[in-house]
Symmetry: C2
């Protein structure tokens, strides 16, 4: 029986994508070889690679002046690599922080700037309160640098469950500098107008595949602005110019991205999954809000993530019991991030609505027994 998998990443993948991989794992398309044994310069893999890139482009509705890149290393690598490429000497980059990942982007960007360029990292806004984050910043709070190299945001904070709402109430910031976004945990979870961004990066292991590959969507002109004196491997330009085949790509991870996005497209695309994701989130937030205070979501209503729903119970003992009892009925991955504790249900694209309904029932029952 399939587990109800609420892992934060690596996370649940569509069963159809996994079964497709399983069926042809040893013998891809009658070639007598696994797709992972094929050369990255051969026709069989090239077809998969190009289809994966085209699916990203199509599902994100990217205009012609944008490019798609696959690279190794997740968001943690991009934190440093973005600064390496774009925070050129003498410049300032503005960072908007609404959670731990934005905070990490600041410290890694700052370290990189110090050793390669002497550029400066400036925190344009932080919604940190005490030890935590509970909201998206308002546009009016941003202290932006004129002539900044870029403004960096995190669209969804996986640990704190804080996300830009992408409605007119909590839109992405309007800025004049190039807008860079870490979209690791909500890319393709809802429709987004990518023309707002100059550079978007996302580790695959939430909505689009297994760990081991990141996807970059960028304006071609932004890529061209990157430093040219870096080692070739660290220049995004290199990968853009070589269709992500400059060096050996993580072929099997990209193959699984292809399978996952093919599933998404076949099921109905981004609008279909957005509706499904919003409904899953609605069910969980309702279960929290209607628990009479037994469950408590620390995030302000307009900033609540539709990908990572976080909540607390009256005591940490009850939280531990909740996780344990949930596991006993095969609801996996509900323990909050070790840095914040509590409960977290990650409800990415591949998480089935029925699992969420079951989780809400479980919550109700648990509250009745312990509340």
């Amino acid at each position: 029986m399939r587990a109800k998998n609420f892992n934060a990443g690596p996370a649940s993948l569509p069963l159809a994508a996994l079964e497709r991989a399983q069926g042809e794992l040893v013998d891809f398309a009658g070639s007598g070889m696994s797709i992972m044994e094929h050369s990255h310069r051969g026709k069989a893999y090239e077809t998969v690679h190009n289809e994966a890139m085209a699916l990203v482009s199509e599902l994100c509705e990217l205009p012609k002046d944008y490019t798609v890149i696959f690279v190794q290393g997740g968001a943690s690598t991009a934190f440093a690599q973005v600064a390496m490429n774009f925070l050129i000497p003498g410049k300032v980059a503005d960072y908007v922080v609404m959670g731990s990942w934005g905070d990490k982007a600041v410290s890694e960007g700052r370290a990189m700037a110090k050793v390669v360029s002497g550029g400066e990292v400036h925190v344009a806004a932080s919604t940190r309160t005490g030890n935590t984050y509970a909201r998206v910043p308002e546009q009016s709070e941003l202290v932006l640098t004129s002539g900044a190299a870029y403004v960096h945001i995190t669209s969804n904070e996986t640990i704190h469950g804080v996300e830009y709402a992408v409605t007119n109430r909590k839109p992405f910031p309007k800025v004049s500098a190039p807008l860079v976004c870490d979209m690791s945990s909500d890319i393709l979870g809802r429709r987004v107008d990518f023309t707002q961004f100059d550079f978007v990066y996302a580790g695959a292991q939430k909505n689009i595949g297994p760990s081991g590959v990141s996807i970059i969507l960028a304006k071609k002109s932004m890529i061209e602005q990157g430093r040219k004196d870096l080692p070739a491997i660290f220049q995004y330009r290199t990968h853009a110019e070589n269709q992500s085949l400059y060096n050996t790509p993580p072929t099997f991870a990209i193959y699984l991205v292809r399978n996952t996005l093919a599933w998404l497209k076949a099921e109905g695309g981004v609008l279909w999954v957005e509706k499904r994701n919003r409904e899953k989130a609605r069910v969980l937030y309702q279960a929290i809000d209607e628990s009479g205070g037994f469950y408590r979501c620390p995030v302000e209503p307009l900033s609540r993530s539709i990908m990572n729903v976080v909540w607390r119970l009256p005591t940490t003992e009850l939280e531990a019991a909740f996780v344990k009892e949930a596991e006993a009925v095969r609801m996996i991955g509900l323990k909050g991030h070790r840095s914040v504790s509590g409960i977290r249900a990650s409800i990415y694209n591949a998480v089935e609505p029925e699992w969420v309904v079951d989780l809400a029932s479980f919550m109700k029952d648990f509250a009745k027994r312990y509340g």
Copy 2:
């Protein structure tokens, strides 16, 4: 029917490792989830991760003062990252070049040094002749820098088929500075005394798994000498201190490394595979040398690789016909690297001796028909 796969990497994997992956791809150990859907912080994955690290340690016979690290990015990333970590300001690093990959290590290391440290890359020896490389340098040719940060070598040049013989006739260089080695294409293909090295890196996609992960074996004291002012993600120290779980690792690639090394151990380990590899190489070099000049290996006998056997035919037209006819009988991946042309048979650990015997027969037959 299984193809006879002579790809240079990504390359053939043991059928047993693939079938094991296929069997449990959708449901790992009755968990109701694929191993790639498991959290990298959970017990199921942790067991796999630790087993993979332990297998590397055991098969390489690493002493206690060495550590094993898994990182994303292949050798191309390491070219830059090694210089970033160890080529500290004011220092010189010596590079020994006997092929294209060593050459790339020089140019990437040099670029990195320029932007981060002002350290200097010095070519201690290059066996380039005209447009190509055909031999390992002698110890006496090395022009070493006193007090160098490190000496960098490539144990096997995949494109040119040039390899240190690891016998007393062509041993690894003896140097007083720390010895760094790119062992991507021959690690675990034969027994090596790793205590000669301070830092070894290897992309997995030749002898140890699929593309998308690299393995590092290093003296703990070397790791500690790395720069501490780099972004955490780029410091090897970070990954060593966190058992390669600082950030999300490429879990499925590491799982496949586990499967591949478990196969190697079960079959008889490194001494077993070395014997097998030497015999495969012997069969092919004999087919070349006994062809009456129809086939010609450009590499000097003592420098010939047991992993990548390269040879030429009288004309490029015949080479194209050779590759095409071989493909028709399901011998895959025999085209030489686009930068050098000719024929190349990569005969890594998972390549079956029967395939090599078949290839030698095919060569004989082809020579008879066209010679």
